[in-house]
Every structure is written in C-alpha cells, then in structure tokens.
C-alpha cells in the first residue's frame, strides 16, 4: 500500500504541482492517475521513488515514510517506465534489462539469464537481445523498458505514459500485454496517462487530478463513468462516457433470436412466412456452416418468386459481429450501429452465428443501464 497523506509539491518558482493529495494505492492492483497536462501526475508519481521530494505532507510505502529510506536503494526496489522508454543507447537490450540486477550486485551471468527470461515474458524474440535500442521499433523499445523495470522483481511499478509514443495498434497490444502480465505478477502498479480509454482498460482504480494538482475523484472505472462527481470530471472523461461504460456489461445476457436466422437454401416463400410470423423487417442469412452472409429485408422478399433460394439474392452486409461469450455491450452496440439493418450478429468464438439481436431488444437491454447510473449517482450524493 502506498499512502499519500496531505502530500504537496511547490516548486521553487512557486508552481504548485500537487496540492494536499490524500490517496491510498492498494497493493497488487493497478491504479491509474489521469488528468490534463500539467495537473501534477508526473510529480505525484515521482514522489513515490523520491525523484521529487514533497514540500508538505508525506508519502509512505507500507507505512514507512519514503524519506526515511536511502533514495538510491529505494529506487532499485521500484520499477520505473517512462514515455520514451529512457533506454541506454550504449547498451544492448539484454544489458538494458539487466541494469538493476547488476546494480544490486548480481553476478553478470545470472543478471543476463534473468534478462533473457524477461524478454520472453514481455514478448521479445531472443535474437533481439543483442540489438541496441536504436535497432528496435518503438513498441519493442517499450517492451524492453517494461522488462527492465521488472528485472529485479520489484513489488511496485511506476509507469509514466509508457505507451503514449507508439501508434494505436501497437499501444493496444502493449496494453493487453500489461494486463496479461499483471494477472500473473500482481504488482502494485501506478500508471499515468492522458488517455481515459487506457485508464478504463487498465485501471482497477482511477484517480482524476484537476489542474493545480488537486484530486478530483478516485473510483473504479465503472463508477467513474457512471457517476462523475462534477462537471470537470464529466468533461474530462468525455461526452461518450455512456457508451464507454457499456464495456463493463457482458453481451452474453442479450436476448439472441435464432428464428430469424435462415440458411442460404431457404426459399423466398418460406422466408416470407418467417418474416410474417416474427413481425421482423429484417432476416439474417447464413451459409451451410452457419457462417454469416448478410441481412435481407422483408420488403425485398416481397417481389421474389416463391421457390428462389435466399443464397441467390442480394444481401446487405452486416459490418461485424460480436463474440457472445467474451464481448461487452459496447461491442454489440457498435456492431448494430455499423449494420444497416440496425441489429447485431452474435457469433461463437469459432465465428459461427448463434443468433441476432434486434434493434429494439438491444435498446431495451441498454436503456435501463443509463438509468442505473442516475440512481447510483443520486445515492452517492448522500454518502
């Protein structure tokens, strides 16, 4: 547990970077600090490893004030990853990763062996170990940076916008990797970012800082999106927080209809009767392996000759499906928005169609959630 108690930092030029910060960062979890530029995130983070000394209040790790510890030794027990990775250009990837073990006095062979172990853990090829940082891509450099921070197995990991300098695709990969690592390692991670999506994805807890270095709100991602305490936080997390919040609800509870899913061999006549029986304006066509083909409208069916199979008619593309067992309501909604028929196609992990969710069923599933947010917000005002 890392505890900030009334911690503040006023730089010599008078800038108050952090003001009266009270924050408990639980062990073994990921806590994300978000806030606009200059709101004191980096300053707060650096108070933990004494790269910044608070000018008021205290920062303690497991009850011990960090100021009672030698800064150099303290830092060797805390991993640190920064935006540009901060790799040593004159050392190979392996030697970069072995840095802290060597500082701790491990024999060289053991430090290198440990470094190679970590390369595998963070998804680097063994051959990349002999490369110098400038011979690696930005994403690979960040992986080396993460491996270096983990090398001496520190219980605490400080990460200051570690993924913000790489492209969105690589960033998403690194985020997934971090989630996987954290599930395995259970470090106390303090993660700084500007990106609310990243915060929601990675954080067990999110702390929002407002300009002037004051804490605005600390909450789980779900509650933060559901009930921002004020205009500032609401504005910071964005106007689409309602849609974002849907990512906390699984799609598997959606009502899936299979009666309006028809195989390509079905004749127009049969299809017309299904449409009439279900009262649905759109039917979904699948191939003989139940893989998705597309939507067909009952209006289009009306003019077709009875025996003609659906597979020979023109269908409308379905955009993308959502995986019923693993995706969230956000993915299902996105699938529906992208489909001209307004419904979403639910598939199994092997890509076969389980059923479709109609527009009205999806609306009915999502609508009460927004309401629940309102109710929660009202109760938290009392508490």
């Amino acid at each position: 547990m890392i505890t900030f108690e009334g911690a503040g930092k006023r730089y010599p030029d008078g800038t108050v970077a952090v003001d009266q910060l009270d924050l408990k960062i639980p062990s073994g979890r990921t806590t994300v600090l978000v806030g606009s530029s200059g709101s004191g995130k980096t300053t707060a983070l650096r108070m933990i490893n004494r790269m910044v000394e608070p000018t008021q209040g205290t920062v303690a790790i497991d009850g011990t004030d960090v100021r009672s510890r030698d800064p150099v030794l303290l830092r060797r027990s805390i991993g640190y990853v920064i935006q540009q990775a901060g790799l040593f250009p004159h050392r190979t990837a392996v030697d970069n990763i072995a840095t802290v073990p060597l500082l701790l006095g491990w024999p060289k062979a053991r430090a290198r062996a440990r470094a190679r172990e970590l390369m595998e853990l963070v998804g680097l090829e063994p051959g990349q170990g002999r490369r110098y940082p400038h011979q690696l891509s930005g994403g690979q450099q960040q992986r080396v940076g993460v491996a270096r921070a983990l090398a001496a197995d520190p219980p605490i990991l400080l990460m200051d916008e570690p993924f913000s300098a790489v492209d969105p695709l690589v960033r998403a990969g690194l985020q997934d990797e971090l989630l996987r690592l954290q599930a395995e390692l259970h470090k106390t991670i303090v993660f700084v970012t500007h990106d609310i999506d990243e915060a929601v994805k990675l954080g067990d807890t999110i702390a929002v800082l407002r300009p002037g270095g004051r804490l605005a709100q600390v909450d789980t991602p779900e509650r933060l999106l559901a009930e921002p305490v004020d205009e500032f936080v609401a504005g910071f997390i964005g106007y689409d927080r309602g849609v974002r919040r849907l990512s906390f609800f699984p799609a598997r509870d959606l009502p899936l209809r299979s009666d309006i899913v028809l195989s390509a061999e079905t004749t127009a006549e049969q299809a017309r009767s299904v449409a009439a029986a279900s009262g649905q304006p759109w039917l979904f066509v699948v191939d003989k392996d139940r893989r998705p083909i597309g939507w067909i409208g009952s209006a289009g069916l009306a003019g077709e000759e009875g025996p003609r199979p659906l597979g020979t008619m023109g269908v409308i593309g379905y955009g993308h499906g959502f995986t019923v067992s693993t995706d969230s309501l956000r993915a299902a909604l996105d699938a529906a928005v992208l489909s001209p028929a307004g419904g979403a196609v639910g598939v199994d992990t092997d890509g076969t169609v389980i059923g479709v969710v109609t527009q009205s069923d999806l609306g009915a599933a999502i609508w009460p959630l927004g309401d629940a947010g309102g109710v929660l917000a009202a109760t938290s005002d009392n508490g």
Binding site: Q84, A85, G86, P89, H90, H134
Partner: protein, 255 residues
Amino acid sequence: MGEGTTASRAADAVAAVAEVWDWTAANLDDPIGPKLLEHAQLSFTSVLLGLLIALPLGLAGARWRPLYPPMLTGVNVLYAVPSLALFFLLLPYTGFSPWTAIIPLALYTLAILVPNVVDGLNQVPDHVRQAAAAMGFGPLRRLLQVELPIALPVIVAGLRVASVATISMVSVASLVGLGGLGQLILTHGFKRNFPAPVIVGIILSVALAFLADAVLVALQRWLTPWARGRESGATTTRNRHIARAAVARSRKATT
C-alpha cells in the same frame, strides 16, 4: 623550354630524393629515431594531460551552466596566447625539461576538448538521465556508466582534432630546445641550410598525425560499438565538432 631543361630538372629531383634517402639512412639511429620518439611522447603526454584537465572542467561546465561561458572564454583566451611566448614564460620555472613544452600544449588542447566534453555530456538525452536516476544509479555511477559512455563519441572527436593539432605544434618548441621532429627541421636543416632533414621532419610529422588519428578512430570503434551505423543527432553533433575544431586548428597553426 628545351628538352635539356626538363631532363636536368628530373635529374635534380632524383638527386634530391637520393640525398634525402642517404641522409635518412645515415641518421636513422640518431637523431631521427630519438626525435620521432620524443615528438610522439610530447604530443601524447600533452593531449593526455589536456584531457585530464578538460574532463573535470567540462563536467563542471555541463552541470553548472552559468560556469560554462566564462570557462569557454578562459580557454579561448589561453589559446590566443602565442605558443612561443608561453614557452619562454615557462623557461625560468621548468627549464629545458619536457614540461616547458607539455604544459602550453596541454593548455591549448583545452580550447578544443572542454567544449567537446560539455557538448558531449549535454547531448545525453534527458529521459536517459532520468531513467538512470530512477533505476537507482548514484550520481558518480551515473556519470561513469551512463553519461560519459554516451558522450564518448563527441569527446573522441575532440581528441582527434586536439592530437593532430598538438603533433603539428610540438615542432615550435624546438625554438626553446625541445620539440622532437621540430629539431630536425630547425637545428639539422634550417640552420645549416640543408633541405633533407626538413623534408624528413615534415613527412614523419604528418605520418605521426595520421597514425594518431587512425589509432583514435580504432579506439572509438572498439569502445562505442553501439554508435556504429547510427544515423542520429549524435553523428551530426560529432561532425559539427570536427569541423569547428578544424577551423580552430588552422587558426592556431599560424601562431
């Protein structure tokens, strides 16, 4: 312009080469060998001493920025003092010992080495320095294991220019009875109006400069494998330094 003139010129040239050759053969053990060695020793010691002074000065200049401009003015002013004057000024204290040559030559290298040490250190990226601190490098360890190695290419670039400049300047010390190959040129050649020692002195001096440069290039390649084939700011900084220092050297060669 008859054939005879051309033929006689060719014969003169052959005779001159033969003369240089004969003189070299006759004087290889003395004075050529010892003077060459002395030249190399004087140059090496001067550059080494210069580096030993430039490193702490450069460190101070890089760490405490306000210190650097006056420091730079200081080493530049030193550089402007004619070498002959410095030799004579030192004579009463150091006599005809090698130090009379080494001290001024070492001081001259500062004008090249101090800015290179400072720029080399300043060019260490801030995020690298911060990452080192965050990982638990103490200040001294950070300097020795992170900052100096990264500054090395720029420092070696300065060393290359300083050593070539010093090798060419050592000869001037022959005016006070030192100066290695300069003595061949002055005592054995110029004063006796005899060209062979002058030519040998020049050739060996240039050869020594080439050798020193080659050794430093090899040293750098060996010490900084990471900088090889690296197209980055460091390379351009290094080239800028070589260019700037070369200008400084050509200026100095005239005093």
